[in-house]
Symmetry: C2
Subunit: 524 residues, 2 copies
C-alpha cells in the first residue's frame, strides 16, 4: 500500500468523483439547515441539465483541486509536507511559473488603460517610463480605431482596427488575403471553440471528430452541448501522427451508430501530445474533410511554440489555399489565442477565430451569438493585436522584443528536449518528442501491482500515479485518462514551463519519485 496518509487520498478520491463528493457535502449542508423548512431544493444535482453533469474537465479537476488543498496546508504549516511548494505543471500557464511578460505588450495595454498617460501635458513624464513606439501604438486604438475607451463595448466581432490588423497578419503568414469581416475576436480561443461546437451540434446524432488524446475542452463541450464526440486515435508509435485510415475508421464507426459526422477537430501543434503536422499530412486531412463534407476546426493556438526546425508551422488555411481549385470550398474555422506562444498572456483572455468558406447566413448566426455576449474584453483584444503585430525592425522597442521572444523560445526548446530525454531515461516510461506546444505526454508502463493498488483506492491507474507524484513531490500533472487514451495505456501530461534555473530540480523530483514508485510496485 502507498505510504500516503489515507486521509489525503480519501479527500482526493472524493474530489475526483465529483458526484459522490458533493453528494456527501450536500448531506452535510442539509443537516445544518434543519431549522429551515425541509422542502426539496429547486436546483439539485439530480435535476440540473444532464448535459452539464456529463462534461468532464481534468485539467482543473481532482488532482489540481488536491494541489490547492496541499497549498493551503503548506501556507499554514510549511514544514508539514515532504516538499516546500506546489509546481503547477497541470496547465499551460507560463506566467504563473514566473515567465516574464513581453515588455512592449504590457506597456501598450497599460497606456491604453490609463487615458491620462496619453495626454500631451504628461508626455515628458510618461517618456521616462515608456518608449515612444508604445505610446504611438496606444494612440492607434483610440484615434484610428474609433474606440473612445477600453471601457466601452466594441463591435461584437471586436474592434475593426484590430480585425484589419489580424487580417494583414494572416495574409503575411499565409500569402493569401482575407477580410476583417471573417474574423471574430474572442475571450481566449476556448470561447470561440465552445460557440462553434454549440452551433454544430443540432442534436446527439451530430458528431464532431476529436483526437484522442485531446485537450478536454472538446469532449467537455461536446457533452455540454449534447452532441456526440467521435474519437479518432493519434498513433503514438509514429510520434502521435494522424492517419487517414484511422479517420475513415472513426467516421465509419460513428455512422454505424447512426451518428453523422459534421466536423473534424485538429489540434496542431498537438495538445497534450506536442506533435507538428507536415504539409503532406495536412493536405491529406483537407482531402479527407473535403471528400466527407466536414468542417475543419483547426486549433492552432500553439502556432508559435515550434521547437523542431524540420517541422515548421503551416496554417491549415495556407495549405488549403495552396491546393487545387476543387478543394477551395472547404469550410475551415481556425483558432488562435494570446494565452500561448512566447507571450503566454492567459489571464488576458484574448484570441480570435477566422472563418473560411462559412456561409454568410451561418456567419450571421455566429455574429448573433457574439452579440448576446456583447463583446470580447477590450484589453484582451488589444493584446491580440500586439501578439500578431509586434514591434518591427527599426522600432524603438524592436531589439528588446526580439531578445525577450528569442530567450523564451530558445529556453522552451531546451526544456522540451530536456524533459522528453529525462522521461525516456526513467524506468517504465517512454516519451515521444515534443516538437511543439508546451507539454510532454509520457507513456507509463504501470506494473500490475500499481494497477491493483489503484483499484483498491478506486482511482484510475494513471490518476493513482499522478496523485502520488503530487503528494510526494508537489509536482501537479494531469493523468492521461483526463485526455482519453488507448485503453490499457497510461500517460500523464506535464508542461515544461518551470523556469530553466529550477528545471533540473523539477526533473529530479519526478525521476526520484518514479524510481521509488517503480521499486514499490515492480511486479515480482
Amino acid at each position: 500500500m502507498p505510504k500516503l496518509p489515507i486521509d489525503s487520498f480519501a479527500t482526493a478520491i472524493m474530489s475526483s468523483s465529483k458526484a459522490a463528493a458533493s453528494r456527501t457535502m450536500s448531506v452535510r449542508s442539509r443537516s445544518m439547515q434543519v431549522s429551515a423548512s425541509a422542502k426539496s431544493k429547486a436546483l439539485s444535482y439530480e435535476s440540473i441539465n444532464h448535459a452539464v453533469r456529463n462534461a468532464e474537465y481534468a485539467v482543473r479537476g481532482a488532482i489540481p483541486i488536491r494541489a490547492e488543498q496541499l497549498k493551503l496546508i503548506l501556507d499554514k504549516d510549511p514544514g508539514s509536507l515532504p516538499f516546500k511548494k506546489i509546481i503547477h505543471c497541470n496547465i499551460g500557464n507560463p506566467q504563473a511559473l514566473k515567465q516574464k511578460p513581453v515588455t512592449f505588450f504590457r506597456q501598450v495595454v497599460s497606456l491604453c488603460t490609463n487615458p491620462d498617460l496619453l495626454k500631451e501635458e504628461n508626455r515628458e513624464d510618461v517618456l521616462k517610463l515608456y518608449p515612444e513606439d508604445a505610446i504611438e501604438r496606444a494612440h492607434k486604438y483610440f484615434e484610428k480605431g474609433g474606440t473612445v475607451s477600453t471601457g466601452a463595448y466594441t463591435h461584437s466581432q471586436g474592434m475593426p482596427v484590430i480585425r484589419e490588423s489580424v487580417a494583414k497578419f494572416v495574409e503575411e503568414r499565409d500569402g493569401f488575403p482575407t477580410s476583417p469581416d471573417r474574423l471574430f475576436l474572442t475571450n481566449g480561443a476556448s470561447a470561440g471553440v465552445q460557440m462553434i461546437l454549440n452551433l454544430l451540434s443540432a442534436n446527439p446524432k451530430v458528431g464532431v471528430m476529436i483526437p484522442i488524446p485531446q485537450y478536454p475542452l472538446y469532449s467537455a463541450t461536446m457533452a455540454m452541448v449534447n452532441g456526440t464526440a467521435v474519437p479518432y486515435y493519434l498513433d503514438e508509435s509514429l510520434g502521435w501522427s494522424i492517419s487517414i485510415p484511422e479517420l475513415e475508421r472513426a467516421k465509419e464507426e460513428a455512422e454505424n451508430l447512426c451518428v453523422s459526422t459534421k466536423a473534424l477537430v485538429i489540434i496542431n501543434p498537438g495538445n497534450p501530445t506536442g506533435q507538428c503536422l507536415t504539409w503532406d499530412q495536412m493536405e491529406n486531412i483537407i482531402k479527407f474533410c473535403h471528400r466527407n463534407s466536414l468542417v475543419l476546426m483547426a486549433d492552432e493556438v500553439y502556432q508559435a511554440n515550434i521547437y523542431n526546425d524540420d517541422l515548421p508551422f503551416h496554417s491549415f488555411r495556407k495549405v488549403l489555399k495552396s491546393m487545387p481549385m476543387q478543394f477551395q470550398d472547404l469550410e475551415l474555422i481556425s483558432f488562435h489565442s494570446t494565452s500561448k506562444g512566447m507571450i503566454g498572456e492567459c489571464g488576458m483572455r484574448g484570441g480570435y477565430m477566422h472563418l473560411t468558406n462559412i456561409e454568410p447566413d451561418v456567419q450571421a448566426e455566429i455574429y448573433k451569438c457574439c452579440s448576446i455576449q456583447l463583446c470580447p474584453n477590450v484589453p484582451g483584444q488589444i493584446m491580440t493585436d500586439l501578439m500578431i503585430n509586434p514591434p518591427k525592425e527599426g522600432d524603438a522597442s524592436y531589439q528588446t522584443f526580439k531578445d525577450e521572444n528569442n530567450t523564451i523560445l530558445e529556453s522552451l526548446k531546451r526544456r522540451a528536449a530536456k524533459l522528453v530525454t529525462a522521461f525516456n531515461s526513467m524506468e517504465n516510461i517512454t516519451c515521444e518528442p515534443s516538437s511543439g506546444a508546451m507539454y510532454a505526454f509520457p507513456n507509463i508502463a504501470l506494473p500490475q501491482r500499481a494497477i491493483d493498488a489503484a483499484a483498491d483506492h478506486n482511482v484510475k491507474p494513471d490518476a493513482f500515479y499522478c496523485l502520488q507524484l503530487l503528494e510526494e513531490t508537489g509536482v501537479c500533472t494531469v493523468p492521461g485518462s483526463g485526455f482519453k487514451q488507448v485503453p490499457g495505456t497510461f500517460h500523464f501530461r506535464a508542461t515544461f514551463l518551470p523556469l530553466e534555473e529550477d528545471f533540473d530540480h523539477f526533473i529530479g523530483l519526478i525521476s526520484d519519485f518514479n524510481t521509488k514508485f517503480m521499486e514499490k510496485y515492480r511486479s515480482e
Copy 2:
C-alpha cells in the same frame, strides 16, 4: 409613404429578418463559387443547431446594424445624410458616449498591467503620474493576492483576494456575512446568467420565469439552451411594478402547458423599464419563490444607478436574510457587473455572481463549467474589486473619486428626469419614471396609418418608428418588440447616456422627429 429612400429601408428590413437576409446573401455567395465543386456545405442555416437559430437579440440587431451602415456612409460622405453623427442610445455603453472613466480605477489597472511601474527603481517617476494609494492597491493583487501576473490564469472562480473583498462588500451592504467560496467572478454579468440558465434548463419542459419587457439576454439564452421562457408581465400602469397574482397566473399558464417552472428572474432596477422594487414587494416575491420552490435569479447590475431617494436599492439577499427563519433555505443567485453603475466599464467585462443556499453538488457543477473556460479575464477581475472597494475617506484618491462618482450620479439623475419629462410632453407618447438603471421605455400610441405603413414595409410598428427615427436623426434606439411587450402596445428603449451638454439637442432631435412622424401618420 415615408420619405426614406426605399433602398435603405430594404437593407434594414433585410437585416431585421436575418433568415431571409442571409439566405439572399448566401445565394449570392454560392453563385460566386461556381468554379469550386457544387457539393452542399456541412454548415448551412438549415442544418445548424435550431436552438441557436431561435435566439433573438435586438439590442445589437437590425437597427444597430443599420446604424453601422449609416456611420460608414457618414464617414465617406459627411454631408449625405440629414444628420452629422449616430447617437448610440441602443445600449447602456456610457464610455462610448464619452463618459469619463473613474481615474483611480484606471490607474490601478494600468499599474497592474505594467509590472515595471511597480518596481522600486521607478518609484520616483511613477509617483509623478500615479497617487500613492493607487500604487499600494496595485501591490495588493500581487503580494497578498497570490497572483504573480495579470497574464496568468487565476482560480476558475476568480482571485481569492478579490472574492474576499467582494464578500466584505456584500456583508457591509447587507449586514449579513458571506463566504468568498460562494462568489464566482465572471466576464460581465451576462456570462454568469448564461451559465446558470444553461444549468437550469434540463429540457424544454423546464421553465424560467422572465419579466416582459425584459433584457433580451434572458429570452435569447433560454432559446439557445432549449429551455422555456415563461413570461410574466410588468404592470406599466403601476410604474412597471411586479404583481404576485400576475406571477401566479404566469406560473399556472406554464403548468397548463406542462412546463414546470424552476426559477424566477427579477431585474432590479429594471431593464428596460427603470423601476425600483420596494422592500415589501421584494418580500412578497421571495415568499412567492419559496412557496413554489423556485430559484430566484436577481439581476442587480444597476444597483448603483438609483435616482429616486424614496426608492433606495436593497439586494434580494439582504431582504431574504432579514426575513423569518422559514424562508432561509431559498435558493438565490445574485448578479453584478462592472459595466453599469457610475463606472460603466463595459469593455472590461468584469462582474460576479453570488450563490446563496445553492447545494454544494450543484455549485461543484458551476465550478466545473467555469473551469472549462479557465478563468474570467484578470483586468476585469481587478476592475470588479475596484468597483466594490473604491478609495475610502482619508485615502489620497478619495476626494477625486467621490467628486467623479457624484458628478456622474447627479448628472444621470438629471438626465433621467429630463428625458422622461420630454417624452411625456410629446404627442402620443407617455413614459413611466426611470427610478433606476440607464433607460427610459416610453409607450408610443402609434396611429393606425403608421401601423399600416409598417405592415407595408414588413416591419413591426415600433421597429418602423425606430428605423425612421434613426434614418432622420441618427438617434439609435431599440424597439419595444425587442424586449417583448403587451401585445398591441408599442415602446422603444432609449438610454439617457448622451452627455449633458448634448442632451437638449438630443431631446430636440427626438421631439422634432416625433412631431413630424405624428403629423404624417395622424389618423384623419
